[in-house]
Amino acid sequence: MKKQNRRNFLKTAGLITAAATGLSVKSAKAAPKNILSEDRLGVLVDTTVCIGCRNCEWACKTAHNLPTESIENYEDKSVFKNMRRPDETALTVVNQYENEKYSNLPVNVKVQCMHCDHPACVSACIVGAFSKNENGAVTWDTDKCIGCRYCMVACPFQVPSFQYDKALNPKIMKCDFCIERTKNGKLPACVEICPVEALTYGPRNELIKIAREKIKSNPDRYIKQIYGENEVGGTSWLYLAGQNFKGIGFPNLGTKPAPGVSESIQHGIFAYFVPPASLYALLGGIMWLTKRRNENEEEE
């Protein structure tokens, strides 16, 4: 109810603005999609299984038509010397960390967009170019984006990247959960290629059950935490690990959704458009009163 009223207000405010600038609002697009479906999908990443073959990196680039070397070159382990981040040239990367239990077995962690349940980018985007889709994917719309990069400021996982070297049509690049492939019944490219089944694709609810089961039956192998189950209000991608997540590159974020505080402040300032309208009335009143006072003084 509250949201509806707020939207109506914005519509009115927007109409005034659009009228002032001589633009038609007929083509106005709806607010961004932000669906949190019960049946949303996700991926469970078992970092204790991943062997760091980086085939997922190759498959991802291939699926998204990004330039890539041939798959044989991905056997090169020297890239693990430095921590890498997903960027505009690679939407997913694998990093390697030292294993606290078995020092000869490194821990490999695949990184990509976490596809939050309450995404900061969806909340922040000035034009609503980001959407949380029914299948759980957080996607970006090239037709709306103005390139302001506020999504990059907002993202708690520091995922979206930007094509800084392009003068025209620079894009925000991030994992799109292979939405074009899953639409057609295919698996996400990384899940499909993974040779050791470190990645499990399925309904998020089921994945949490599987993860809990795994932790229960292998208490020595896993720590008792599913990263992404509650972090920033939950994410579609979930991780299992044998050691503390902080040590393998995950930020410590708490369980509150990232956009929470900013949205409630934002809606508080505008609540039904009452505060701004009252301020207007108040100032108008002061203006009238002081003017009258001045006129009276002049008469005297």
């Binding site: 985007c125 990069r149 400021v153 070297d165 003017k291």
Partner: protein, 411 residues
């Protein structure tokens, strides 16, 4: 209003050595700016995936908006509270705000990757986004500022249209249109004046909401849920110091006496406003117990301390002193410190406080970025100069009058 205090175009030559320096700086900025349009943002700036926002957003946009706050604070004082003695500061402050916001808009235009889509927020709304609110409010406020400035234009041209040659026949109709416009504005301008103040309070505060969503990426010394309030309070307290600062600079540039009989009483209002800002800033620090971070010796703690001590505490003490308020050089120094404090606060909030979880280095603006920012500032000053030399903006006492009398007030 007395004849001798009416705003009028200043009589002064345009070119001075200072103007030439500014022109060179502006040109230098434009060269780097053109590179941004041909080769992308990455070719000019030091921005990257870790630091998506830098000098242009922190200074050109965020600090620009704050430092243009003189427009709405003096409109509130002069027009809404009808303090007649301050009427003479409203127009210069309005002009600064109009130019300031114009350059804020230009700043956004060059910083966004897809500048040709800058109109998108008008049609594509996201009511959850603080940036959307800032964007819409700023667009509306710029329009309002231009409307508020129109009377200056009509005043300049009514009775002064002298088109030559084949355009002579246009003189009378143009005059008529101006008179109609002037009458219409005279009756409706109060709507826009109030609207301008409301829009200002809205977006000045929402500018503070912007960084809240960055959550733990922002240093706890600055990250607080009351950021919108702090932004609003600091904008209100920097408004009059900015007016004083400009008025004194203009006096120096145009070789007139500083208008101390208006600026001193204006200075009286600064201390309570600045004090309120300091109270909230320190109160927030003690409630959230963030003072523990001041024990660490690093960029954040140093910048925070400078911001509080040099930017708020020292000028607050100065504005409380009668001697400062009545001495031009001290009043100027105190005002400059407040401006410095707010400028630094915006830089701190948007650049220094921003610490991404995975960074491969820190951000410092490139020579190109600094050139563009400096160039825009130089351009703004030059346009200001052109306008005050040609339009009735600044009120200067007529040289034939020696004024020490109190002004009468016209409602």
């Amino acid at each position: 209003m007395h004849e001798h205090l009416r705003p009028s175009p200043l009589k002064h030559k345009f070119f001075t050595p200072g103007v030439i320096v500014l022109a060179v700086l502006a040109l230098n900025g434009l060269v780097f700016l053109s590179a941004r349009f041909f080769f992308g943002i990455g070719s000019v700036t030091n921005l990257n995936n870790q630091y998506p926002w830098g000098l242009w957003i922190g200074v050109d946009v965020a600090a620009g908006v704050a430092l243009a706050a003189g427009g709405f604070t003096s409109a509130a004082l002069g027009h809404i509270m009808h303090r007649g003695r301050f009427h003479s500061i409203v127009r210069p402050a309005l002009l600064t705000a109009m130019l300031g916001y114009t350059f804020v808009a230009i700043g956004v235009f060059v910083d966004i990757g897809r500048w040709y889509y800058i109109w998108h927020p008008l049609l594509m709304w996201n009511g959850n986004s603080a940036l959307f609110e800032v964007g819409i409010c700023v667009m509306m406020y710029v329009t309002v500022l231009y409307i508020e400035f129109l009377p200056v234009v009509t005043e300049r041209f009514i009775g002064n249209i002298r088109l030559k040659g084949i355009l002579t026949f246009l003189n009378k109709p143009a005059e008529k249109i101006l008179i109609i416009l002037d009458n219409a504005l005279g009756k409706t301008i109060f709507i826009f004046i109030i609207l301008g103040v409301v829009l200002s309070t809205l977006h000045q505060s929402s500018l503070g909401t912007l960084m809240i969503i960055a959550g733990p990426k922002m240093h706890p010394l600055w990250q607080t849920p009351i950021l919108p309030l702090l932004f609003l309070l600091s904008a209100i307290s920097v408004g009059f110091p900015m007016v004083i600062f400009e008025s004194m600079l203009a006096s120096r540039s145009f070789k007139t006496k500083p208008e101390m009989d208006v600026l001193s009483p204006l200075g009286y209002t600064v201390a309570p406003l600045l004090g309120l800002y300091l109270a909230f800033k320190l109160g927030d620090m003690f409630i959230r117990e963030t003072f523990v971070y001041l024990n660490e010796f690093n960029t954040a703690s140093i910048m925070f301390t400078i911001e509080i001590v040099v930017g708020i505490v020292i000028p607050l003490r100065m504005f409380l002193s009668k001697k400062v308020l009545q001495t031009p050089s001290l009043l100027f120094t105190a005002s400059t410190l407040v401006i410095f404090g707010v400028l630094l606060n915006r830089i701190n909030n948007f650049i220094v406080a921003y610490t991404p979880p995975y960074s491969f280095g820190s951000y410092f603006p490139s020579f190109g970025e600094i050139s563009v920012t400096v160039g825009f500032f130089a351009l703004l000053v030059l346009i200001y100069r052109v306008i005050v030399l040609n339009f009735p903006v600044i009120s200067r006492p007529d040289e034939s009058f020696i004024i020490k009398t109190k002004y009468t007030i016209k409602g």
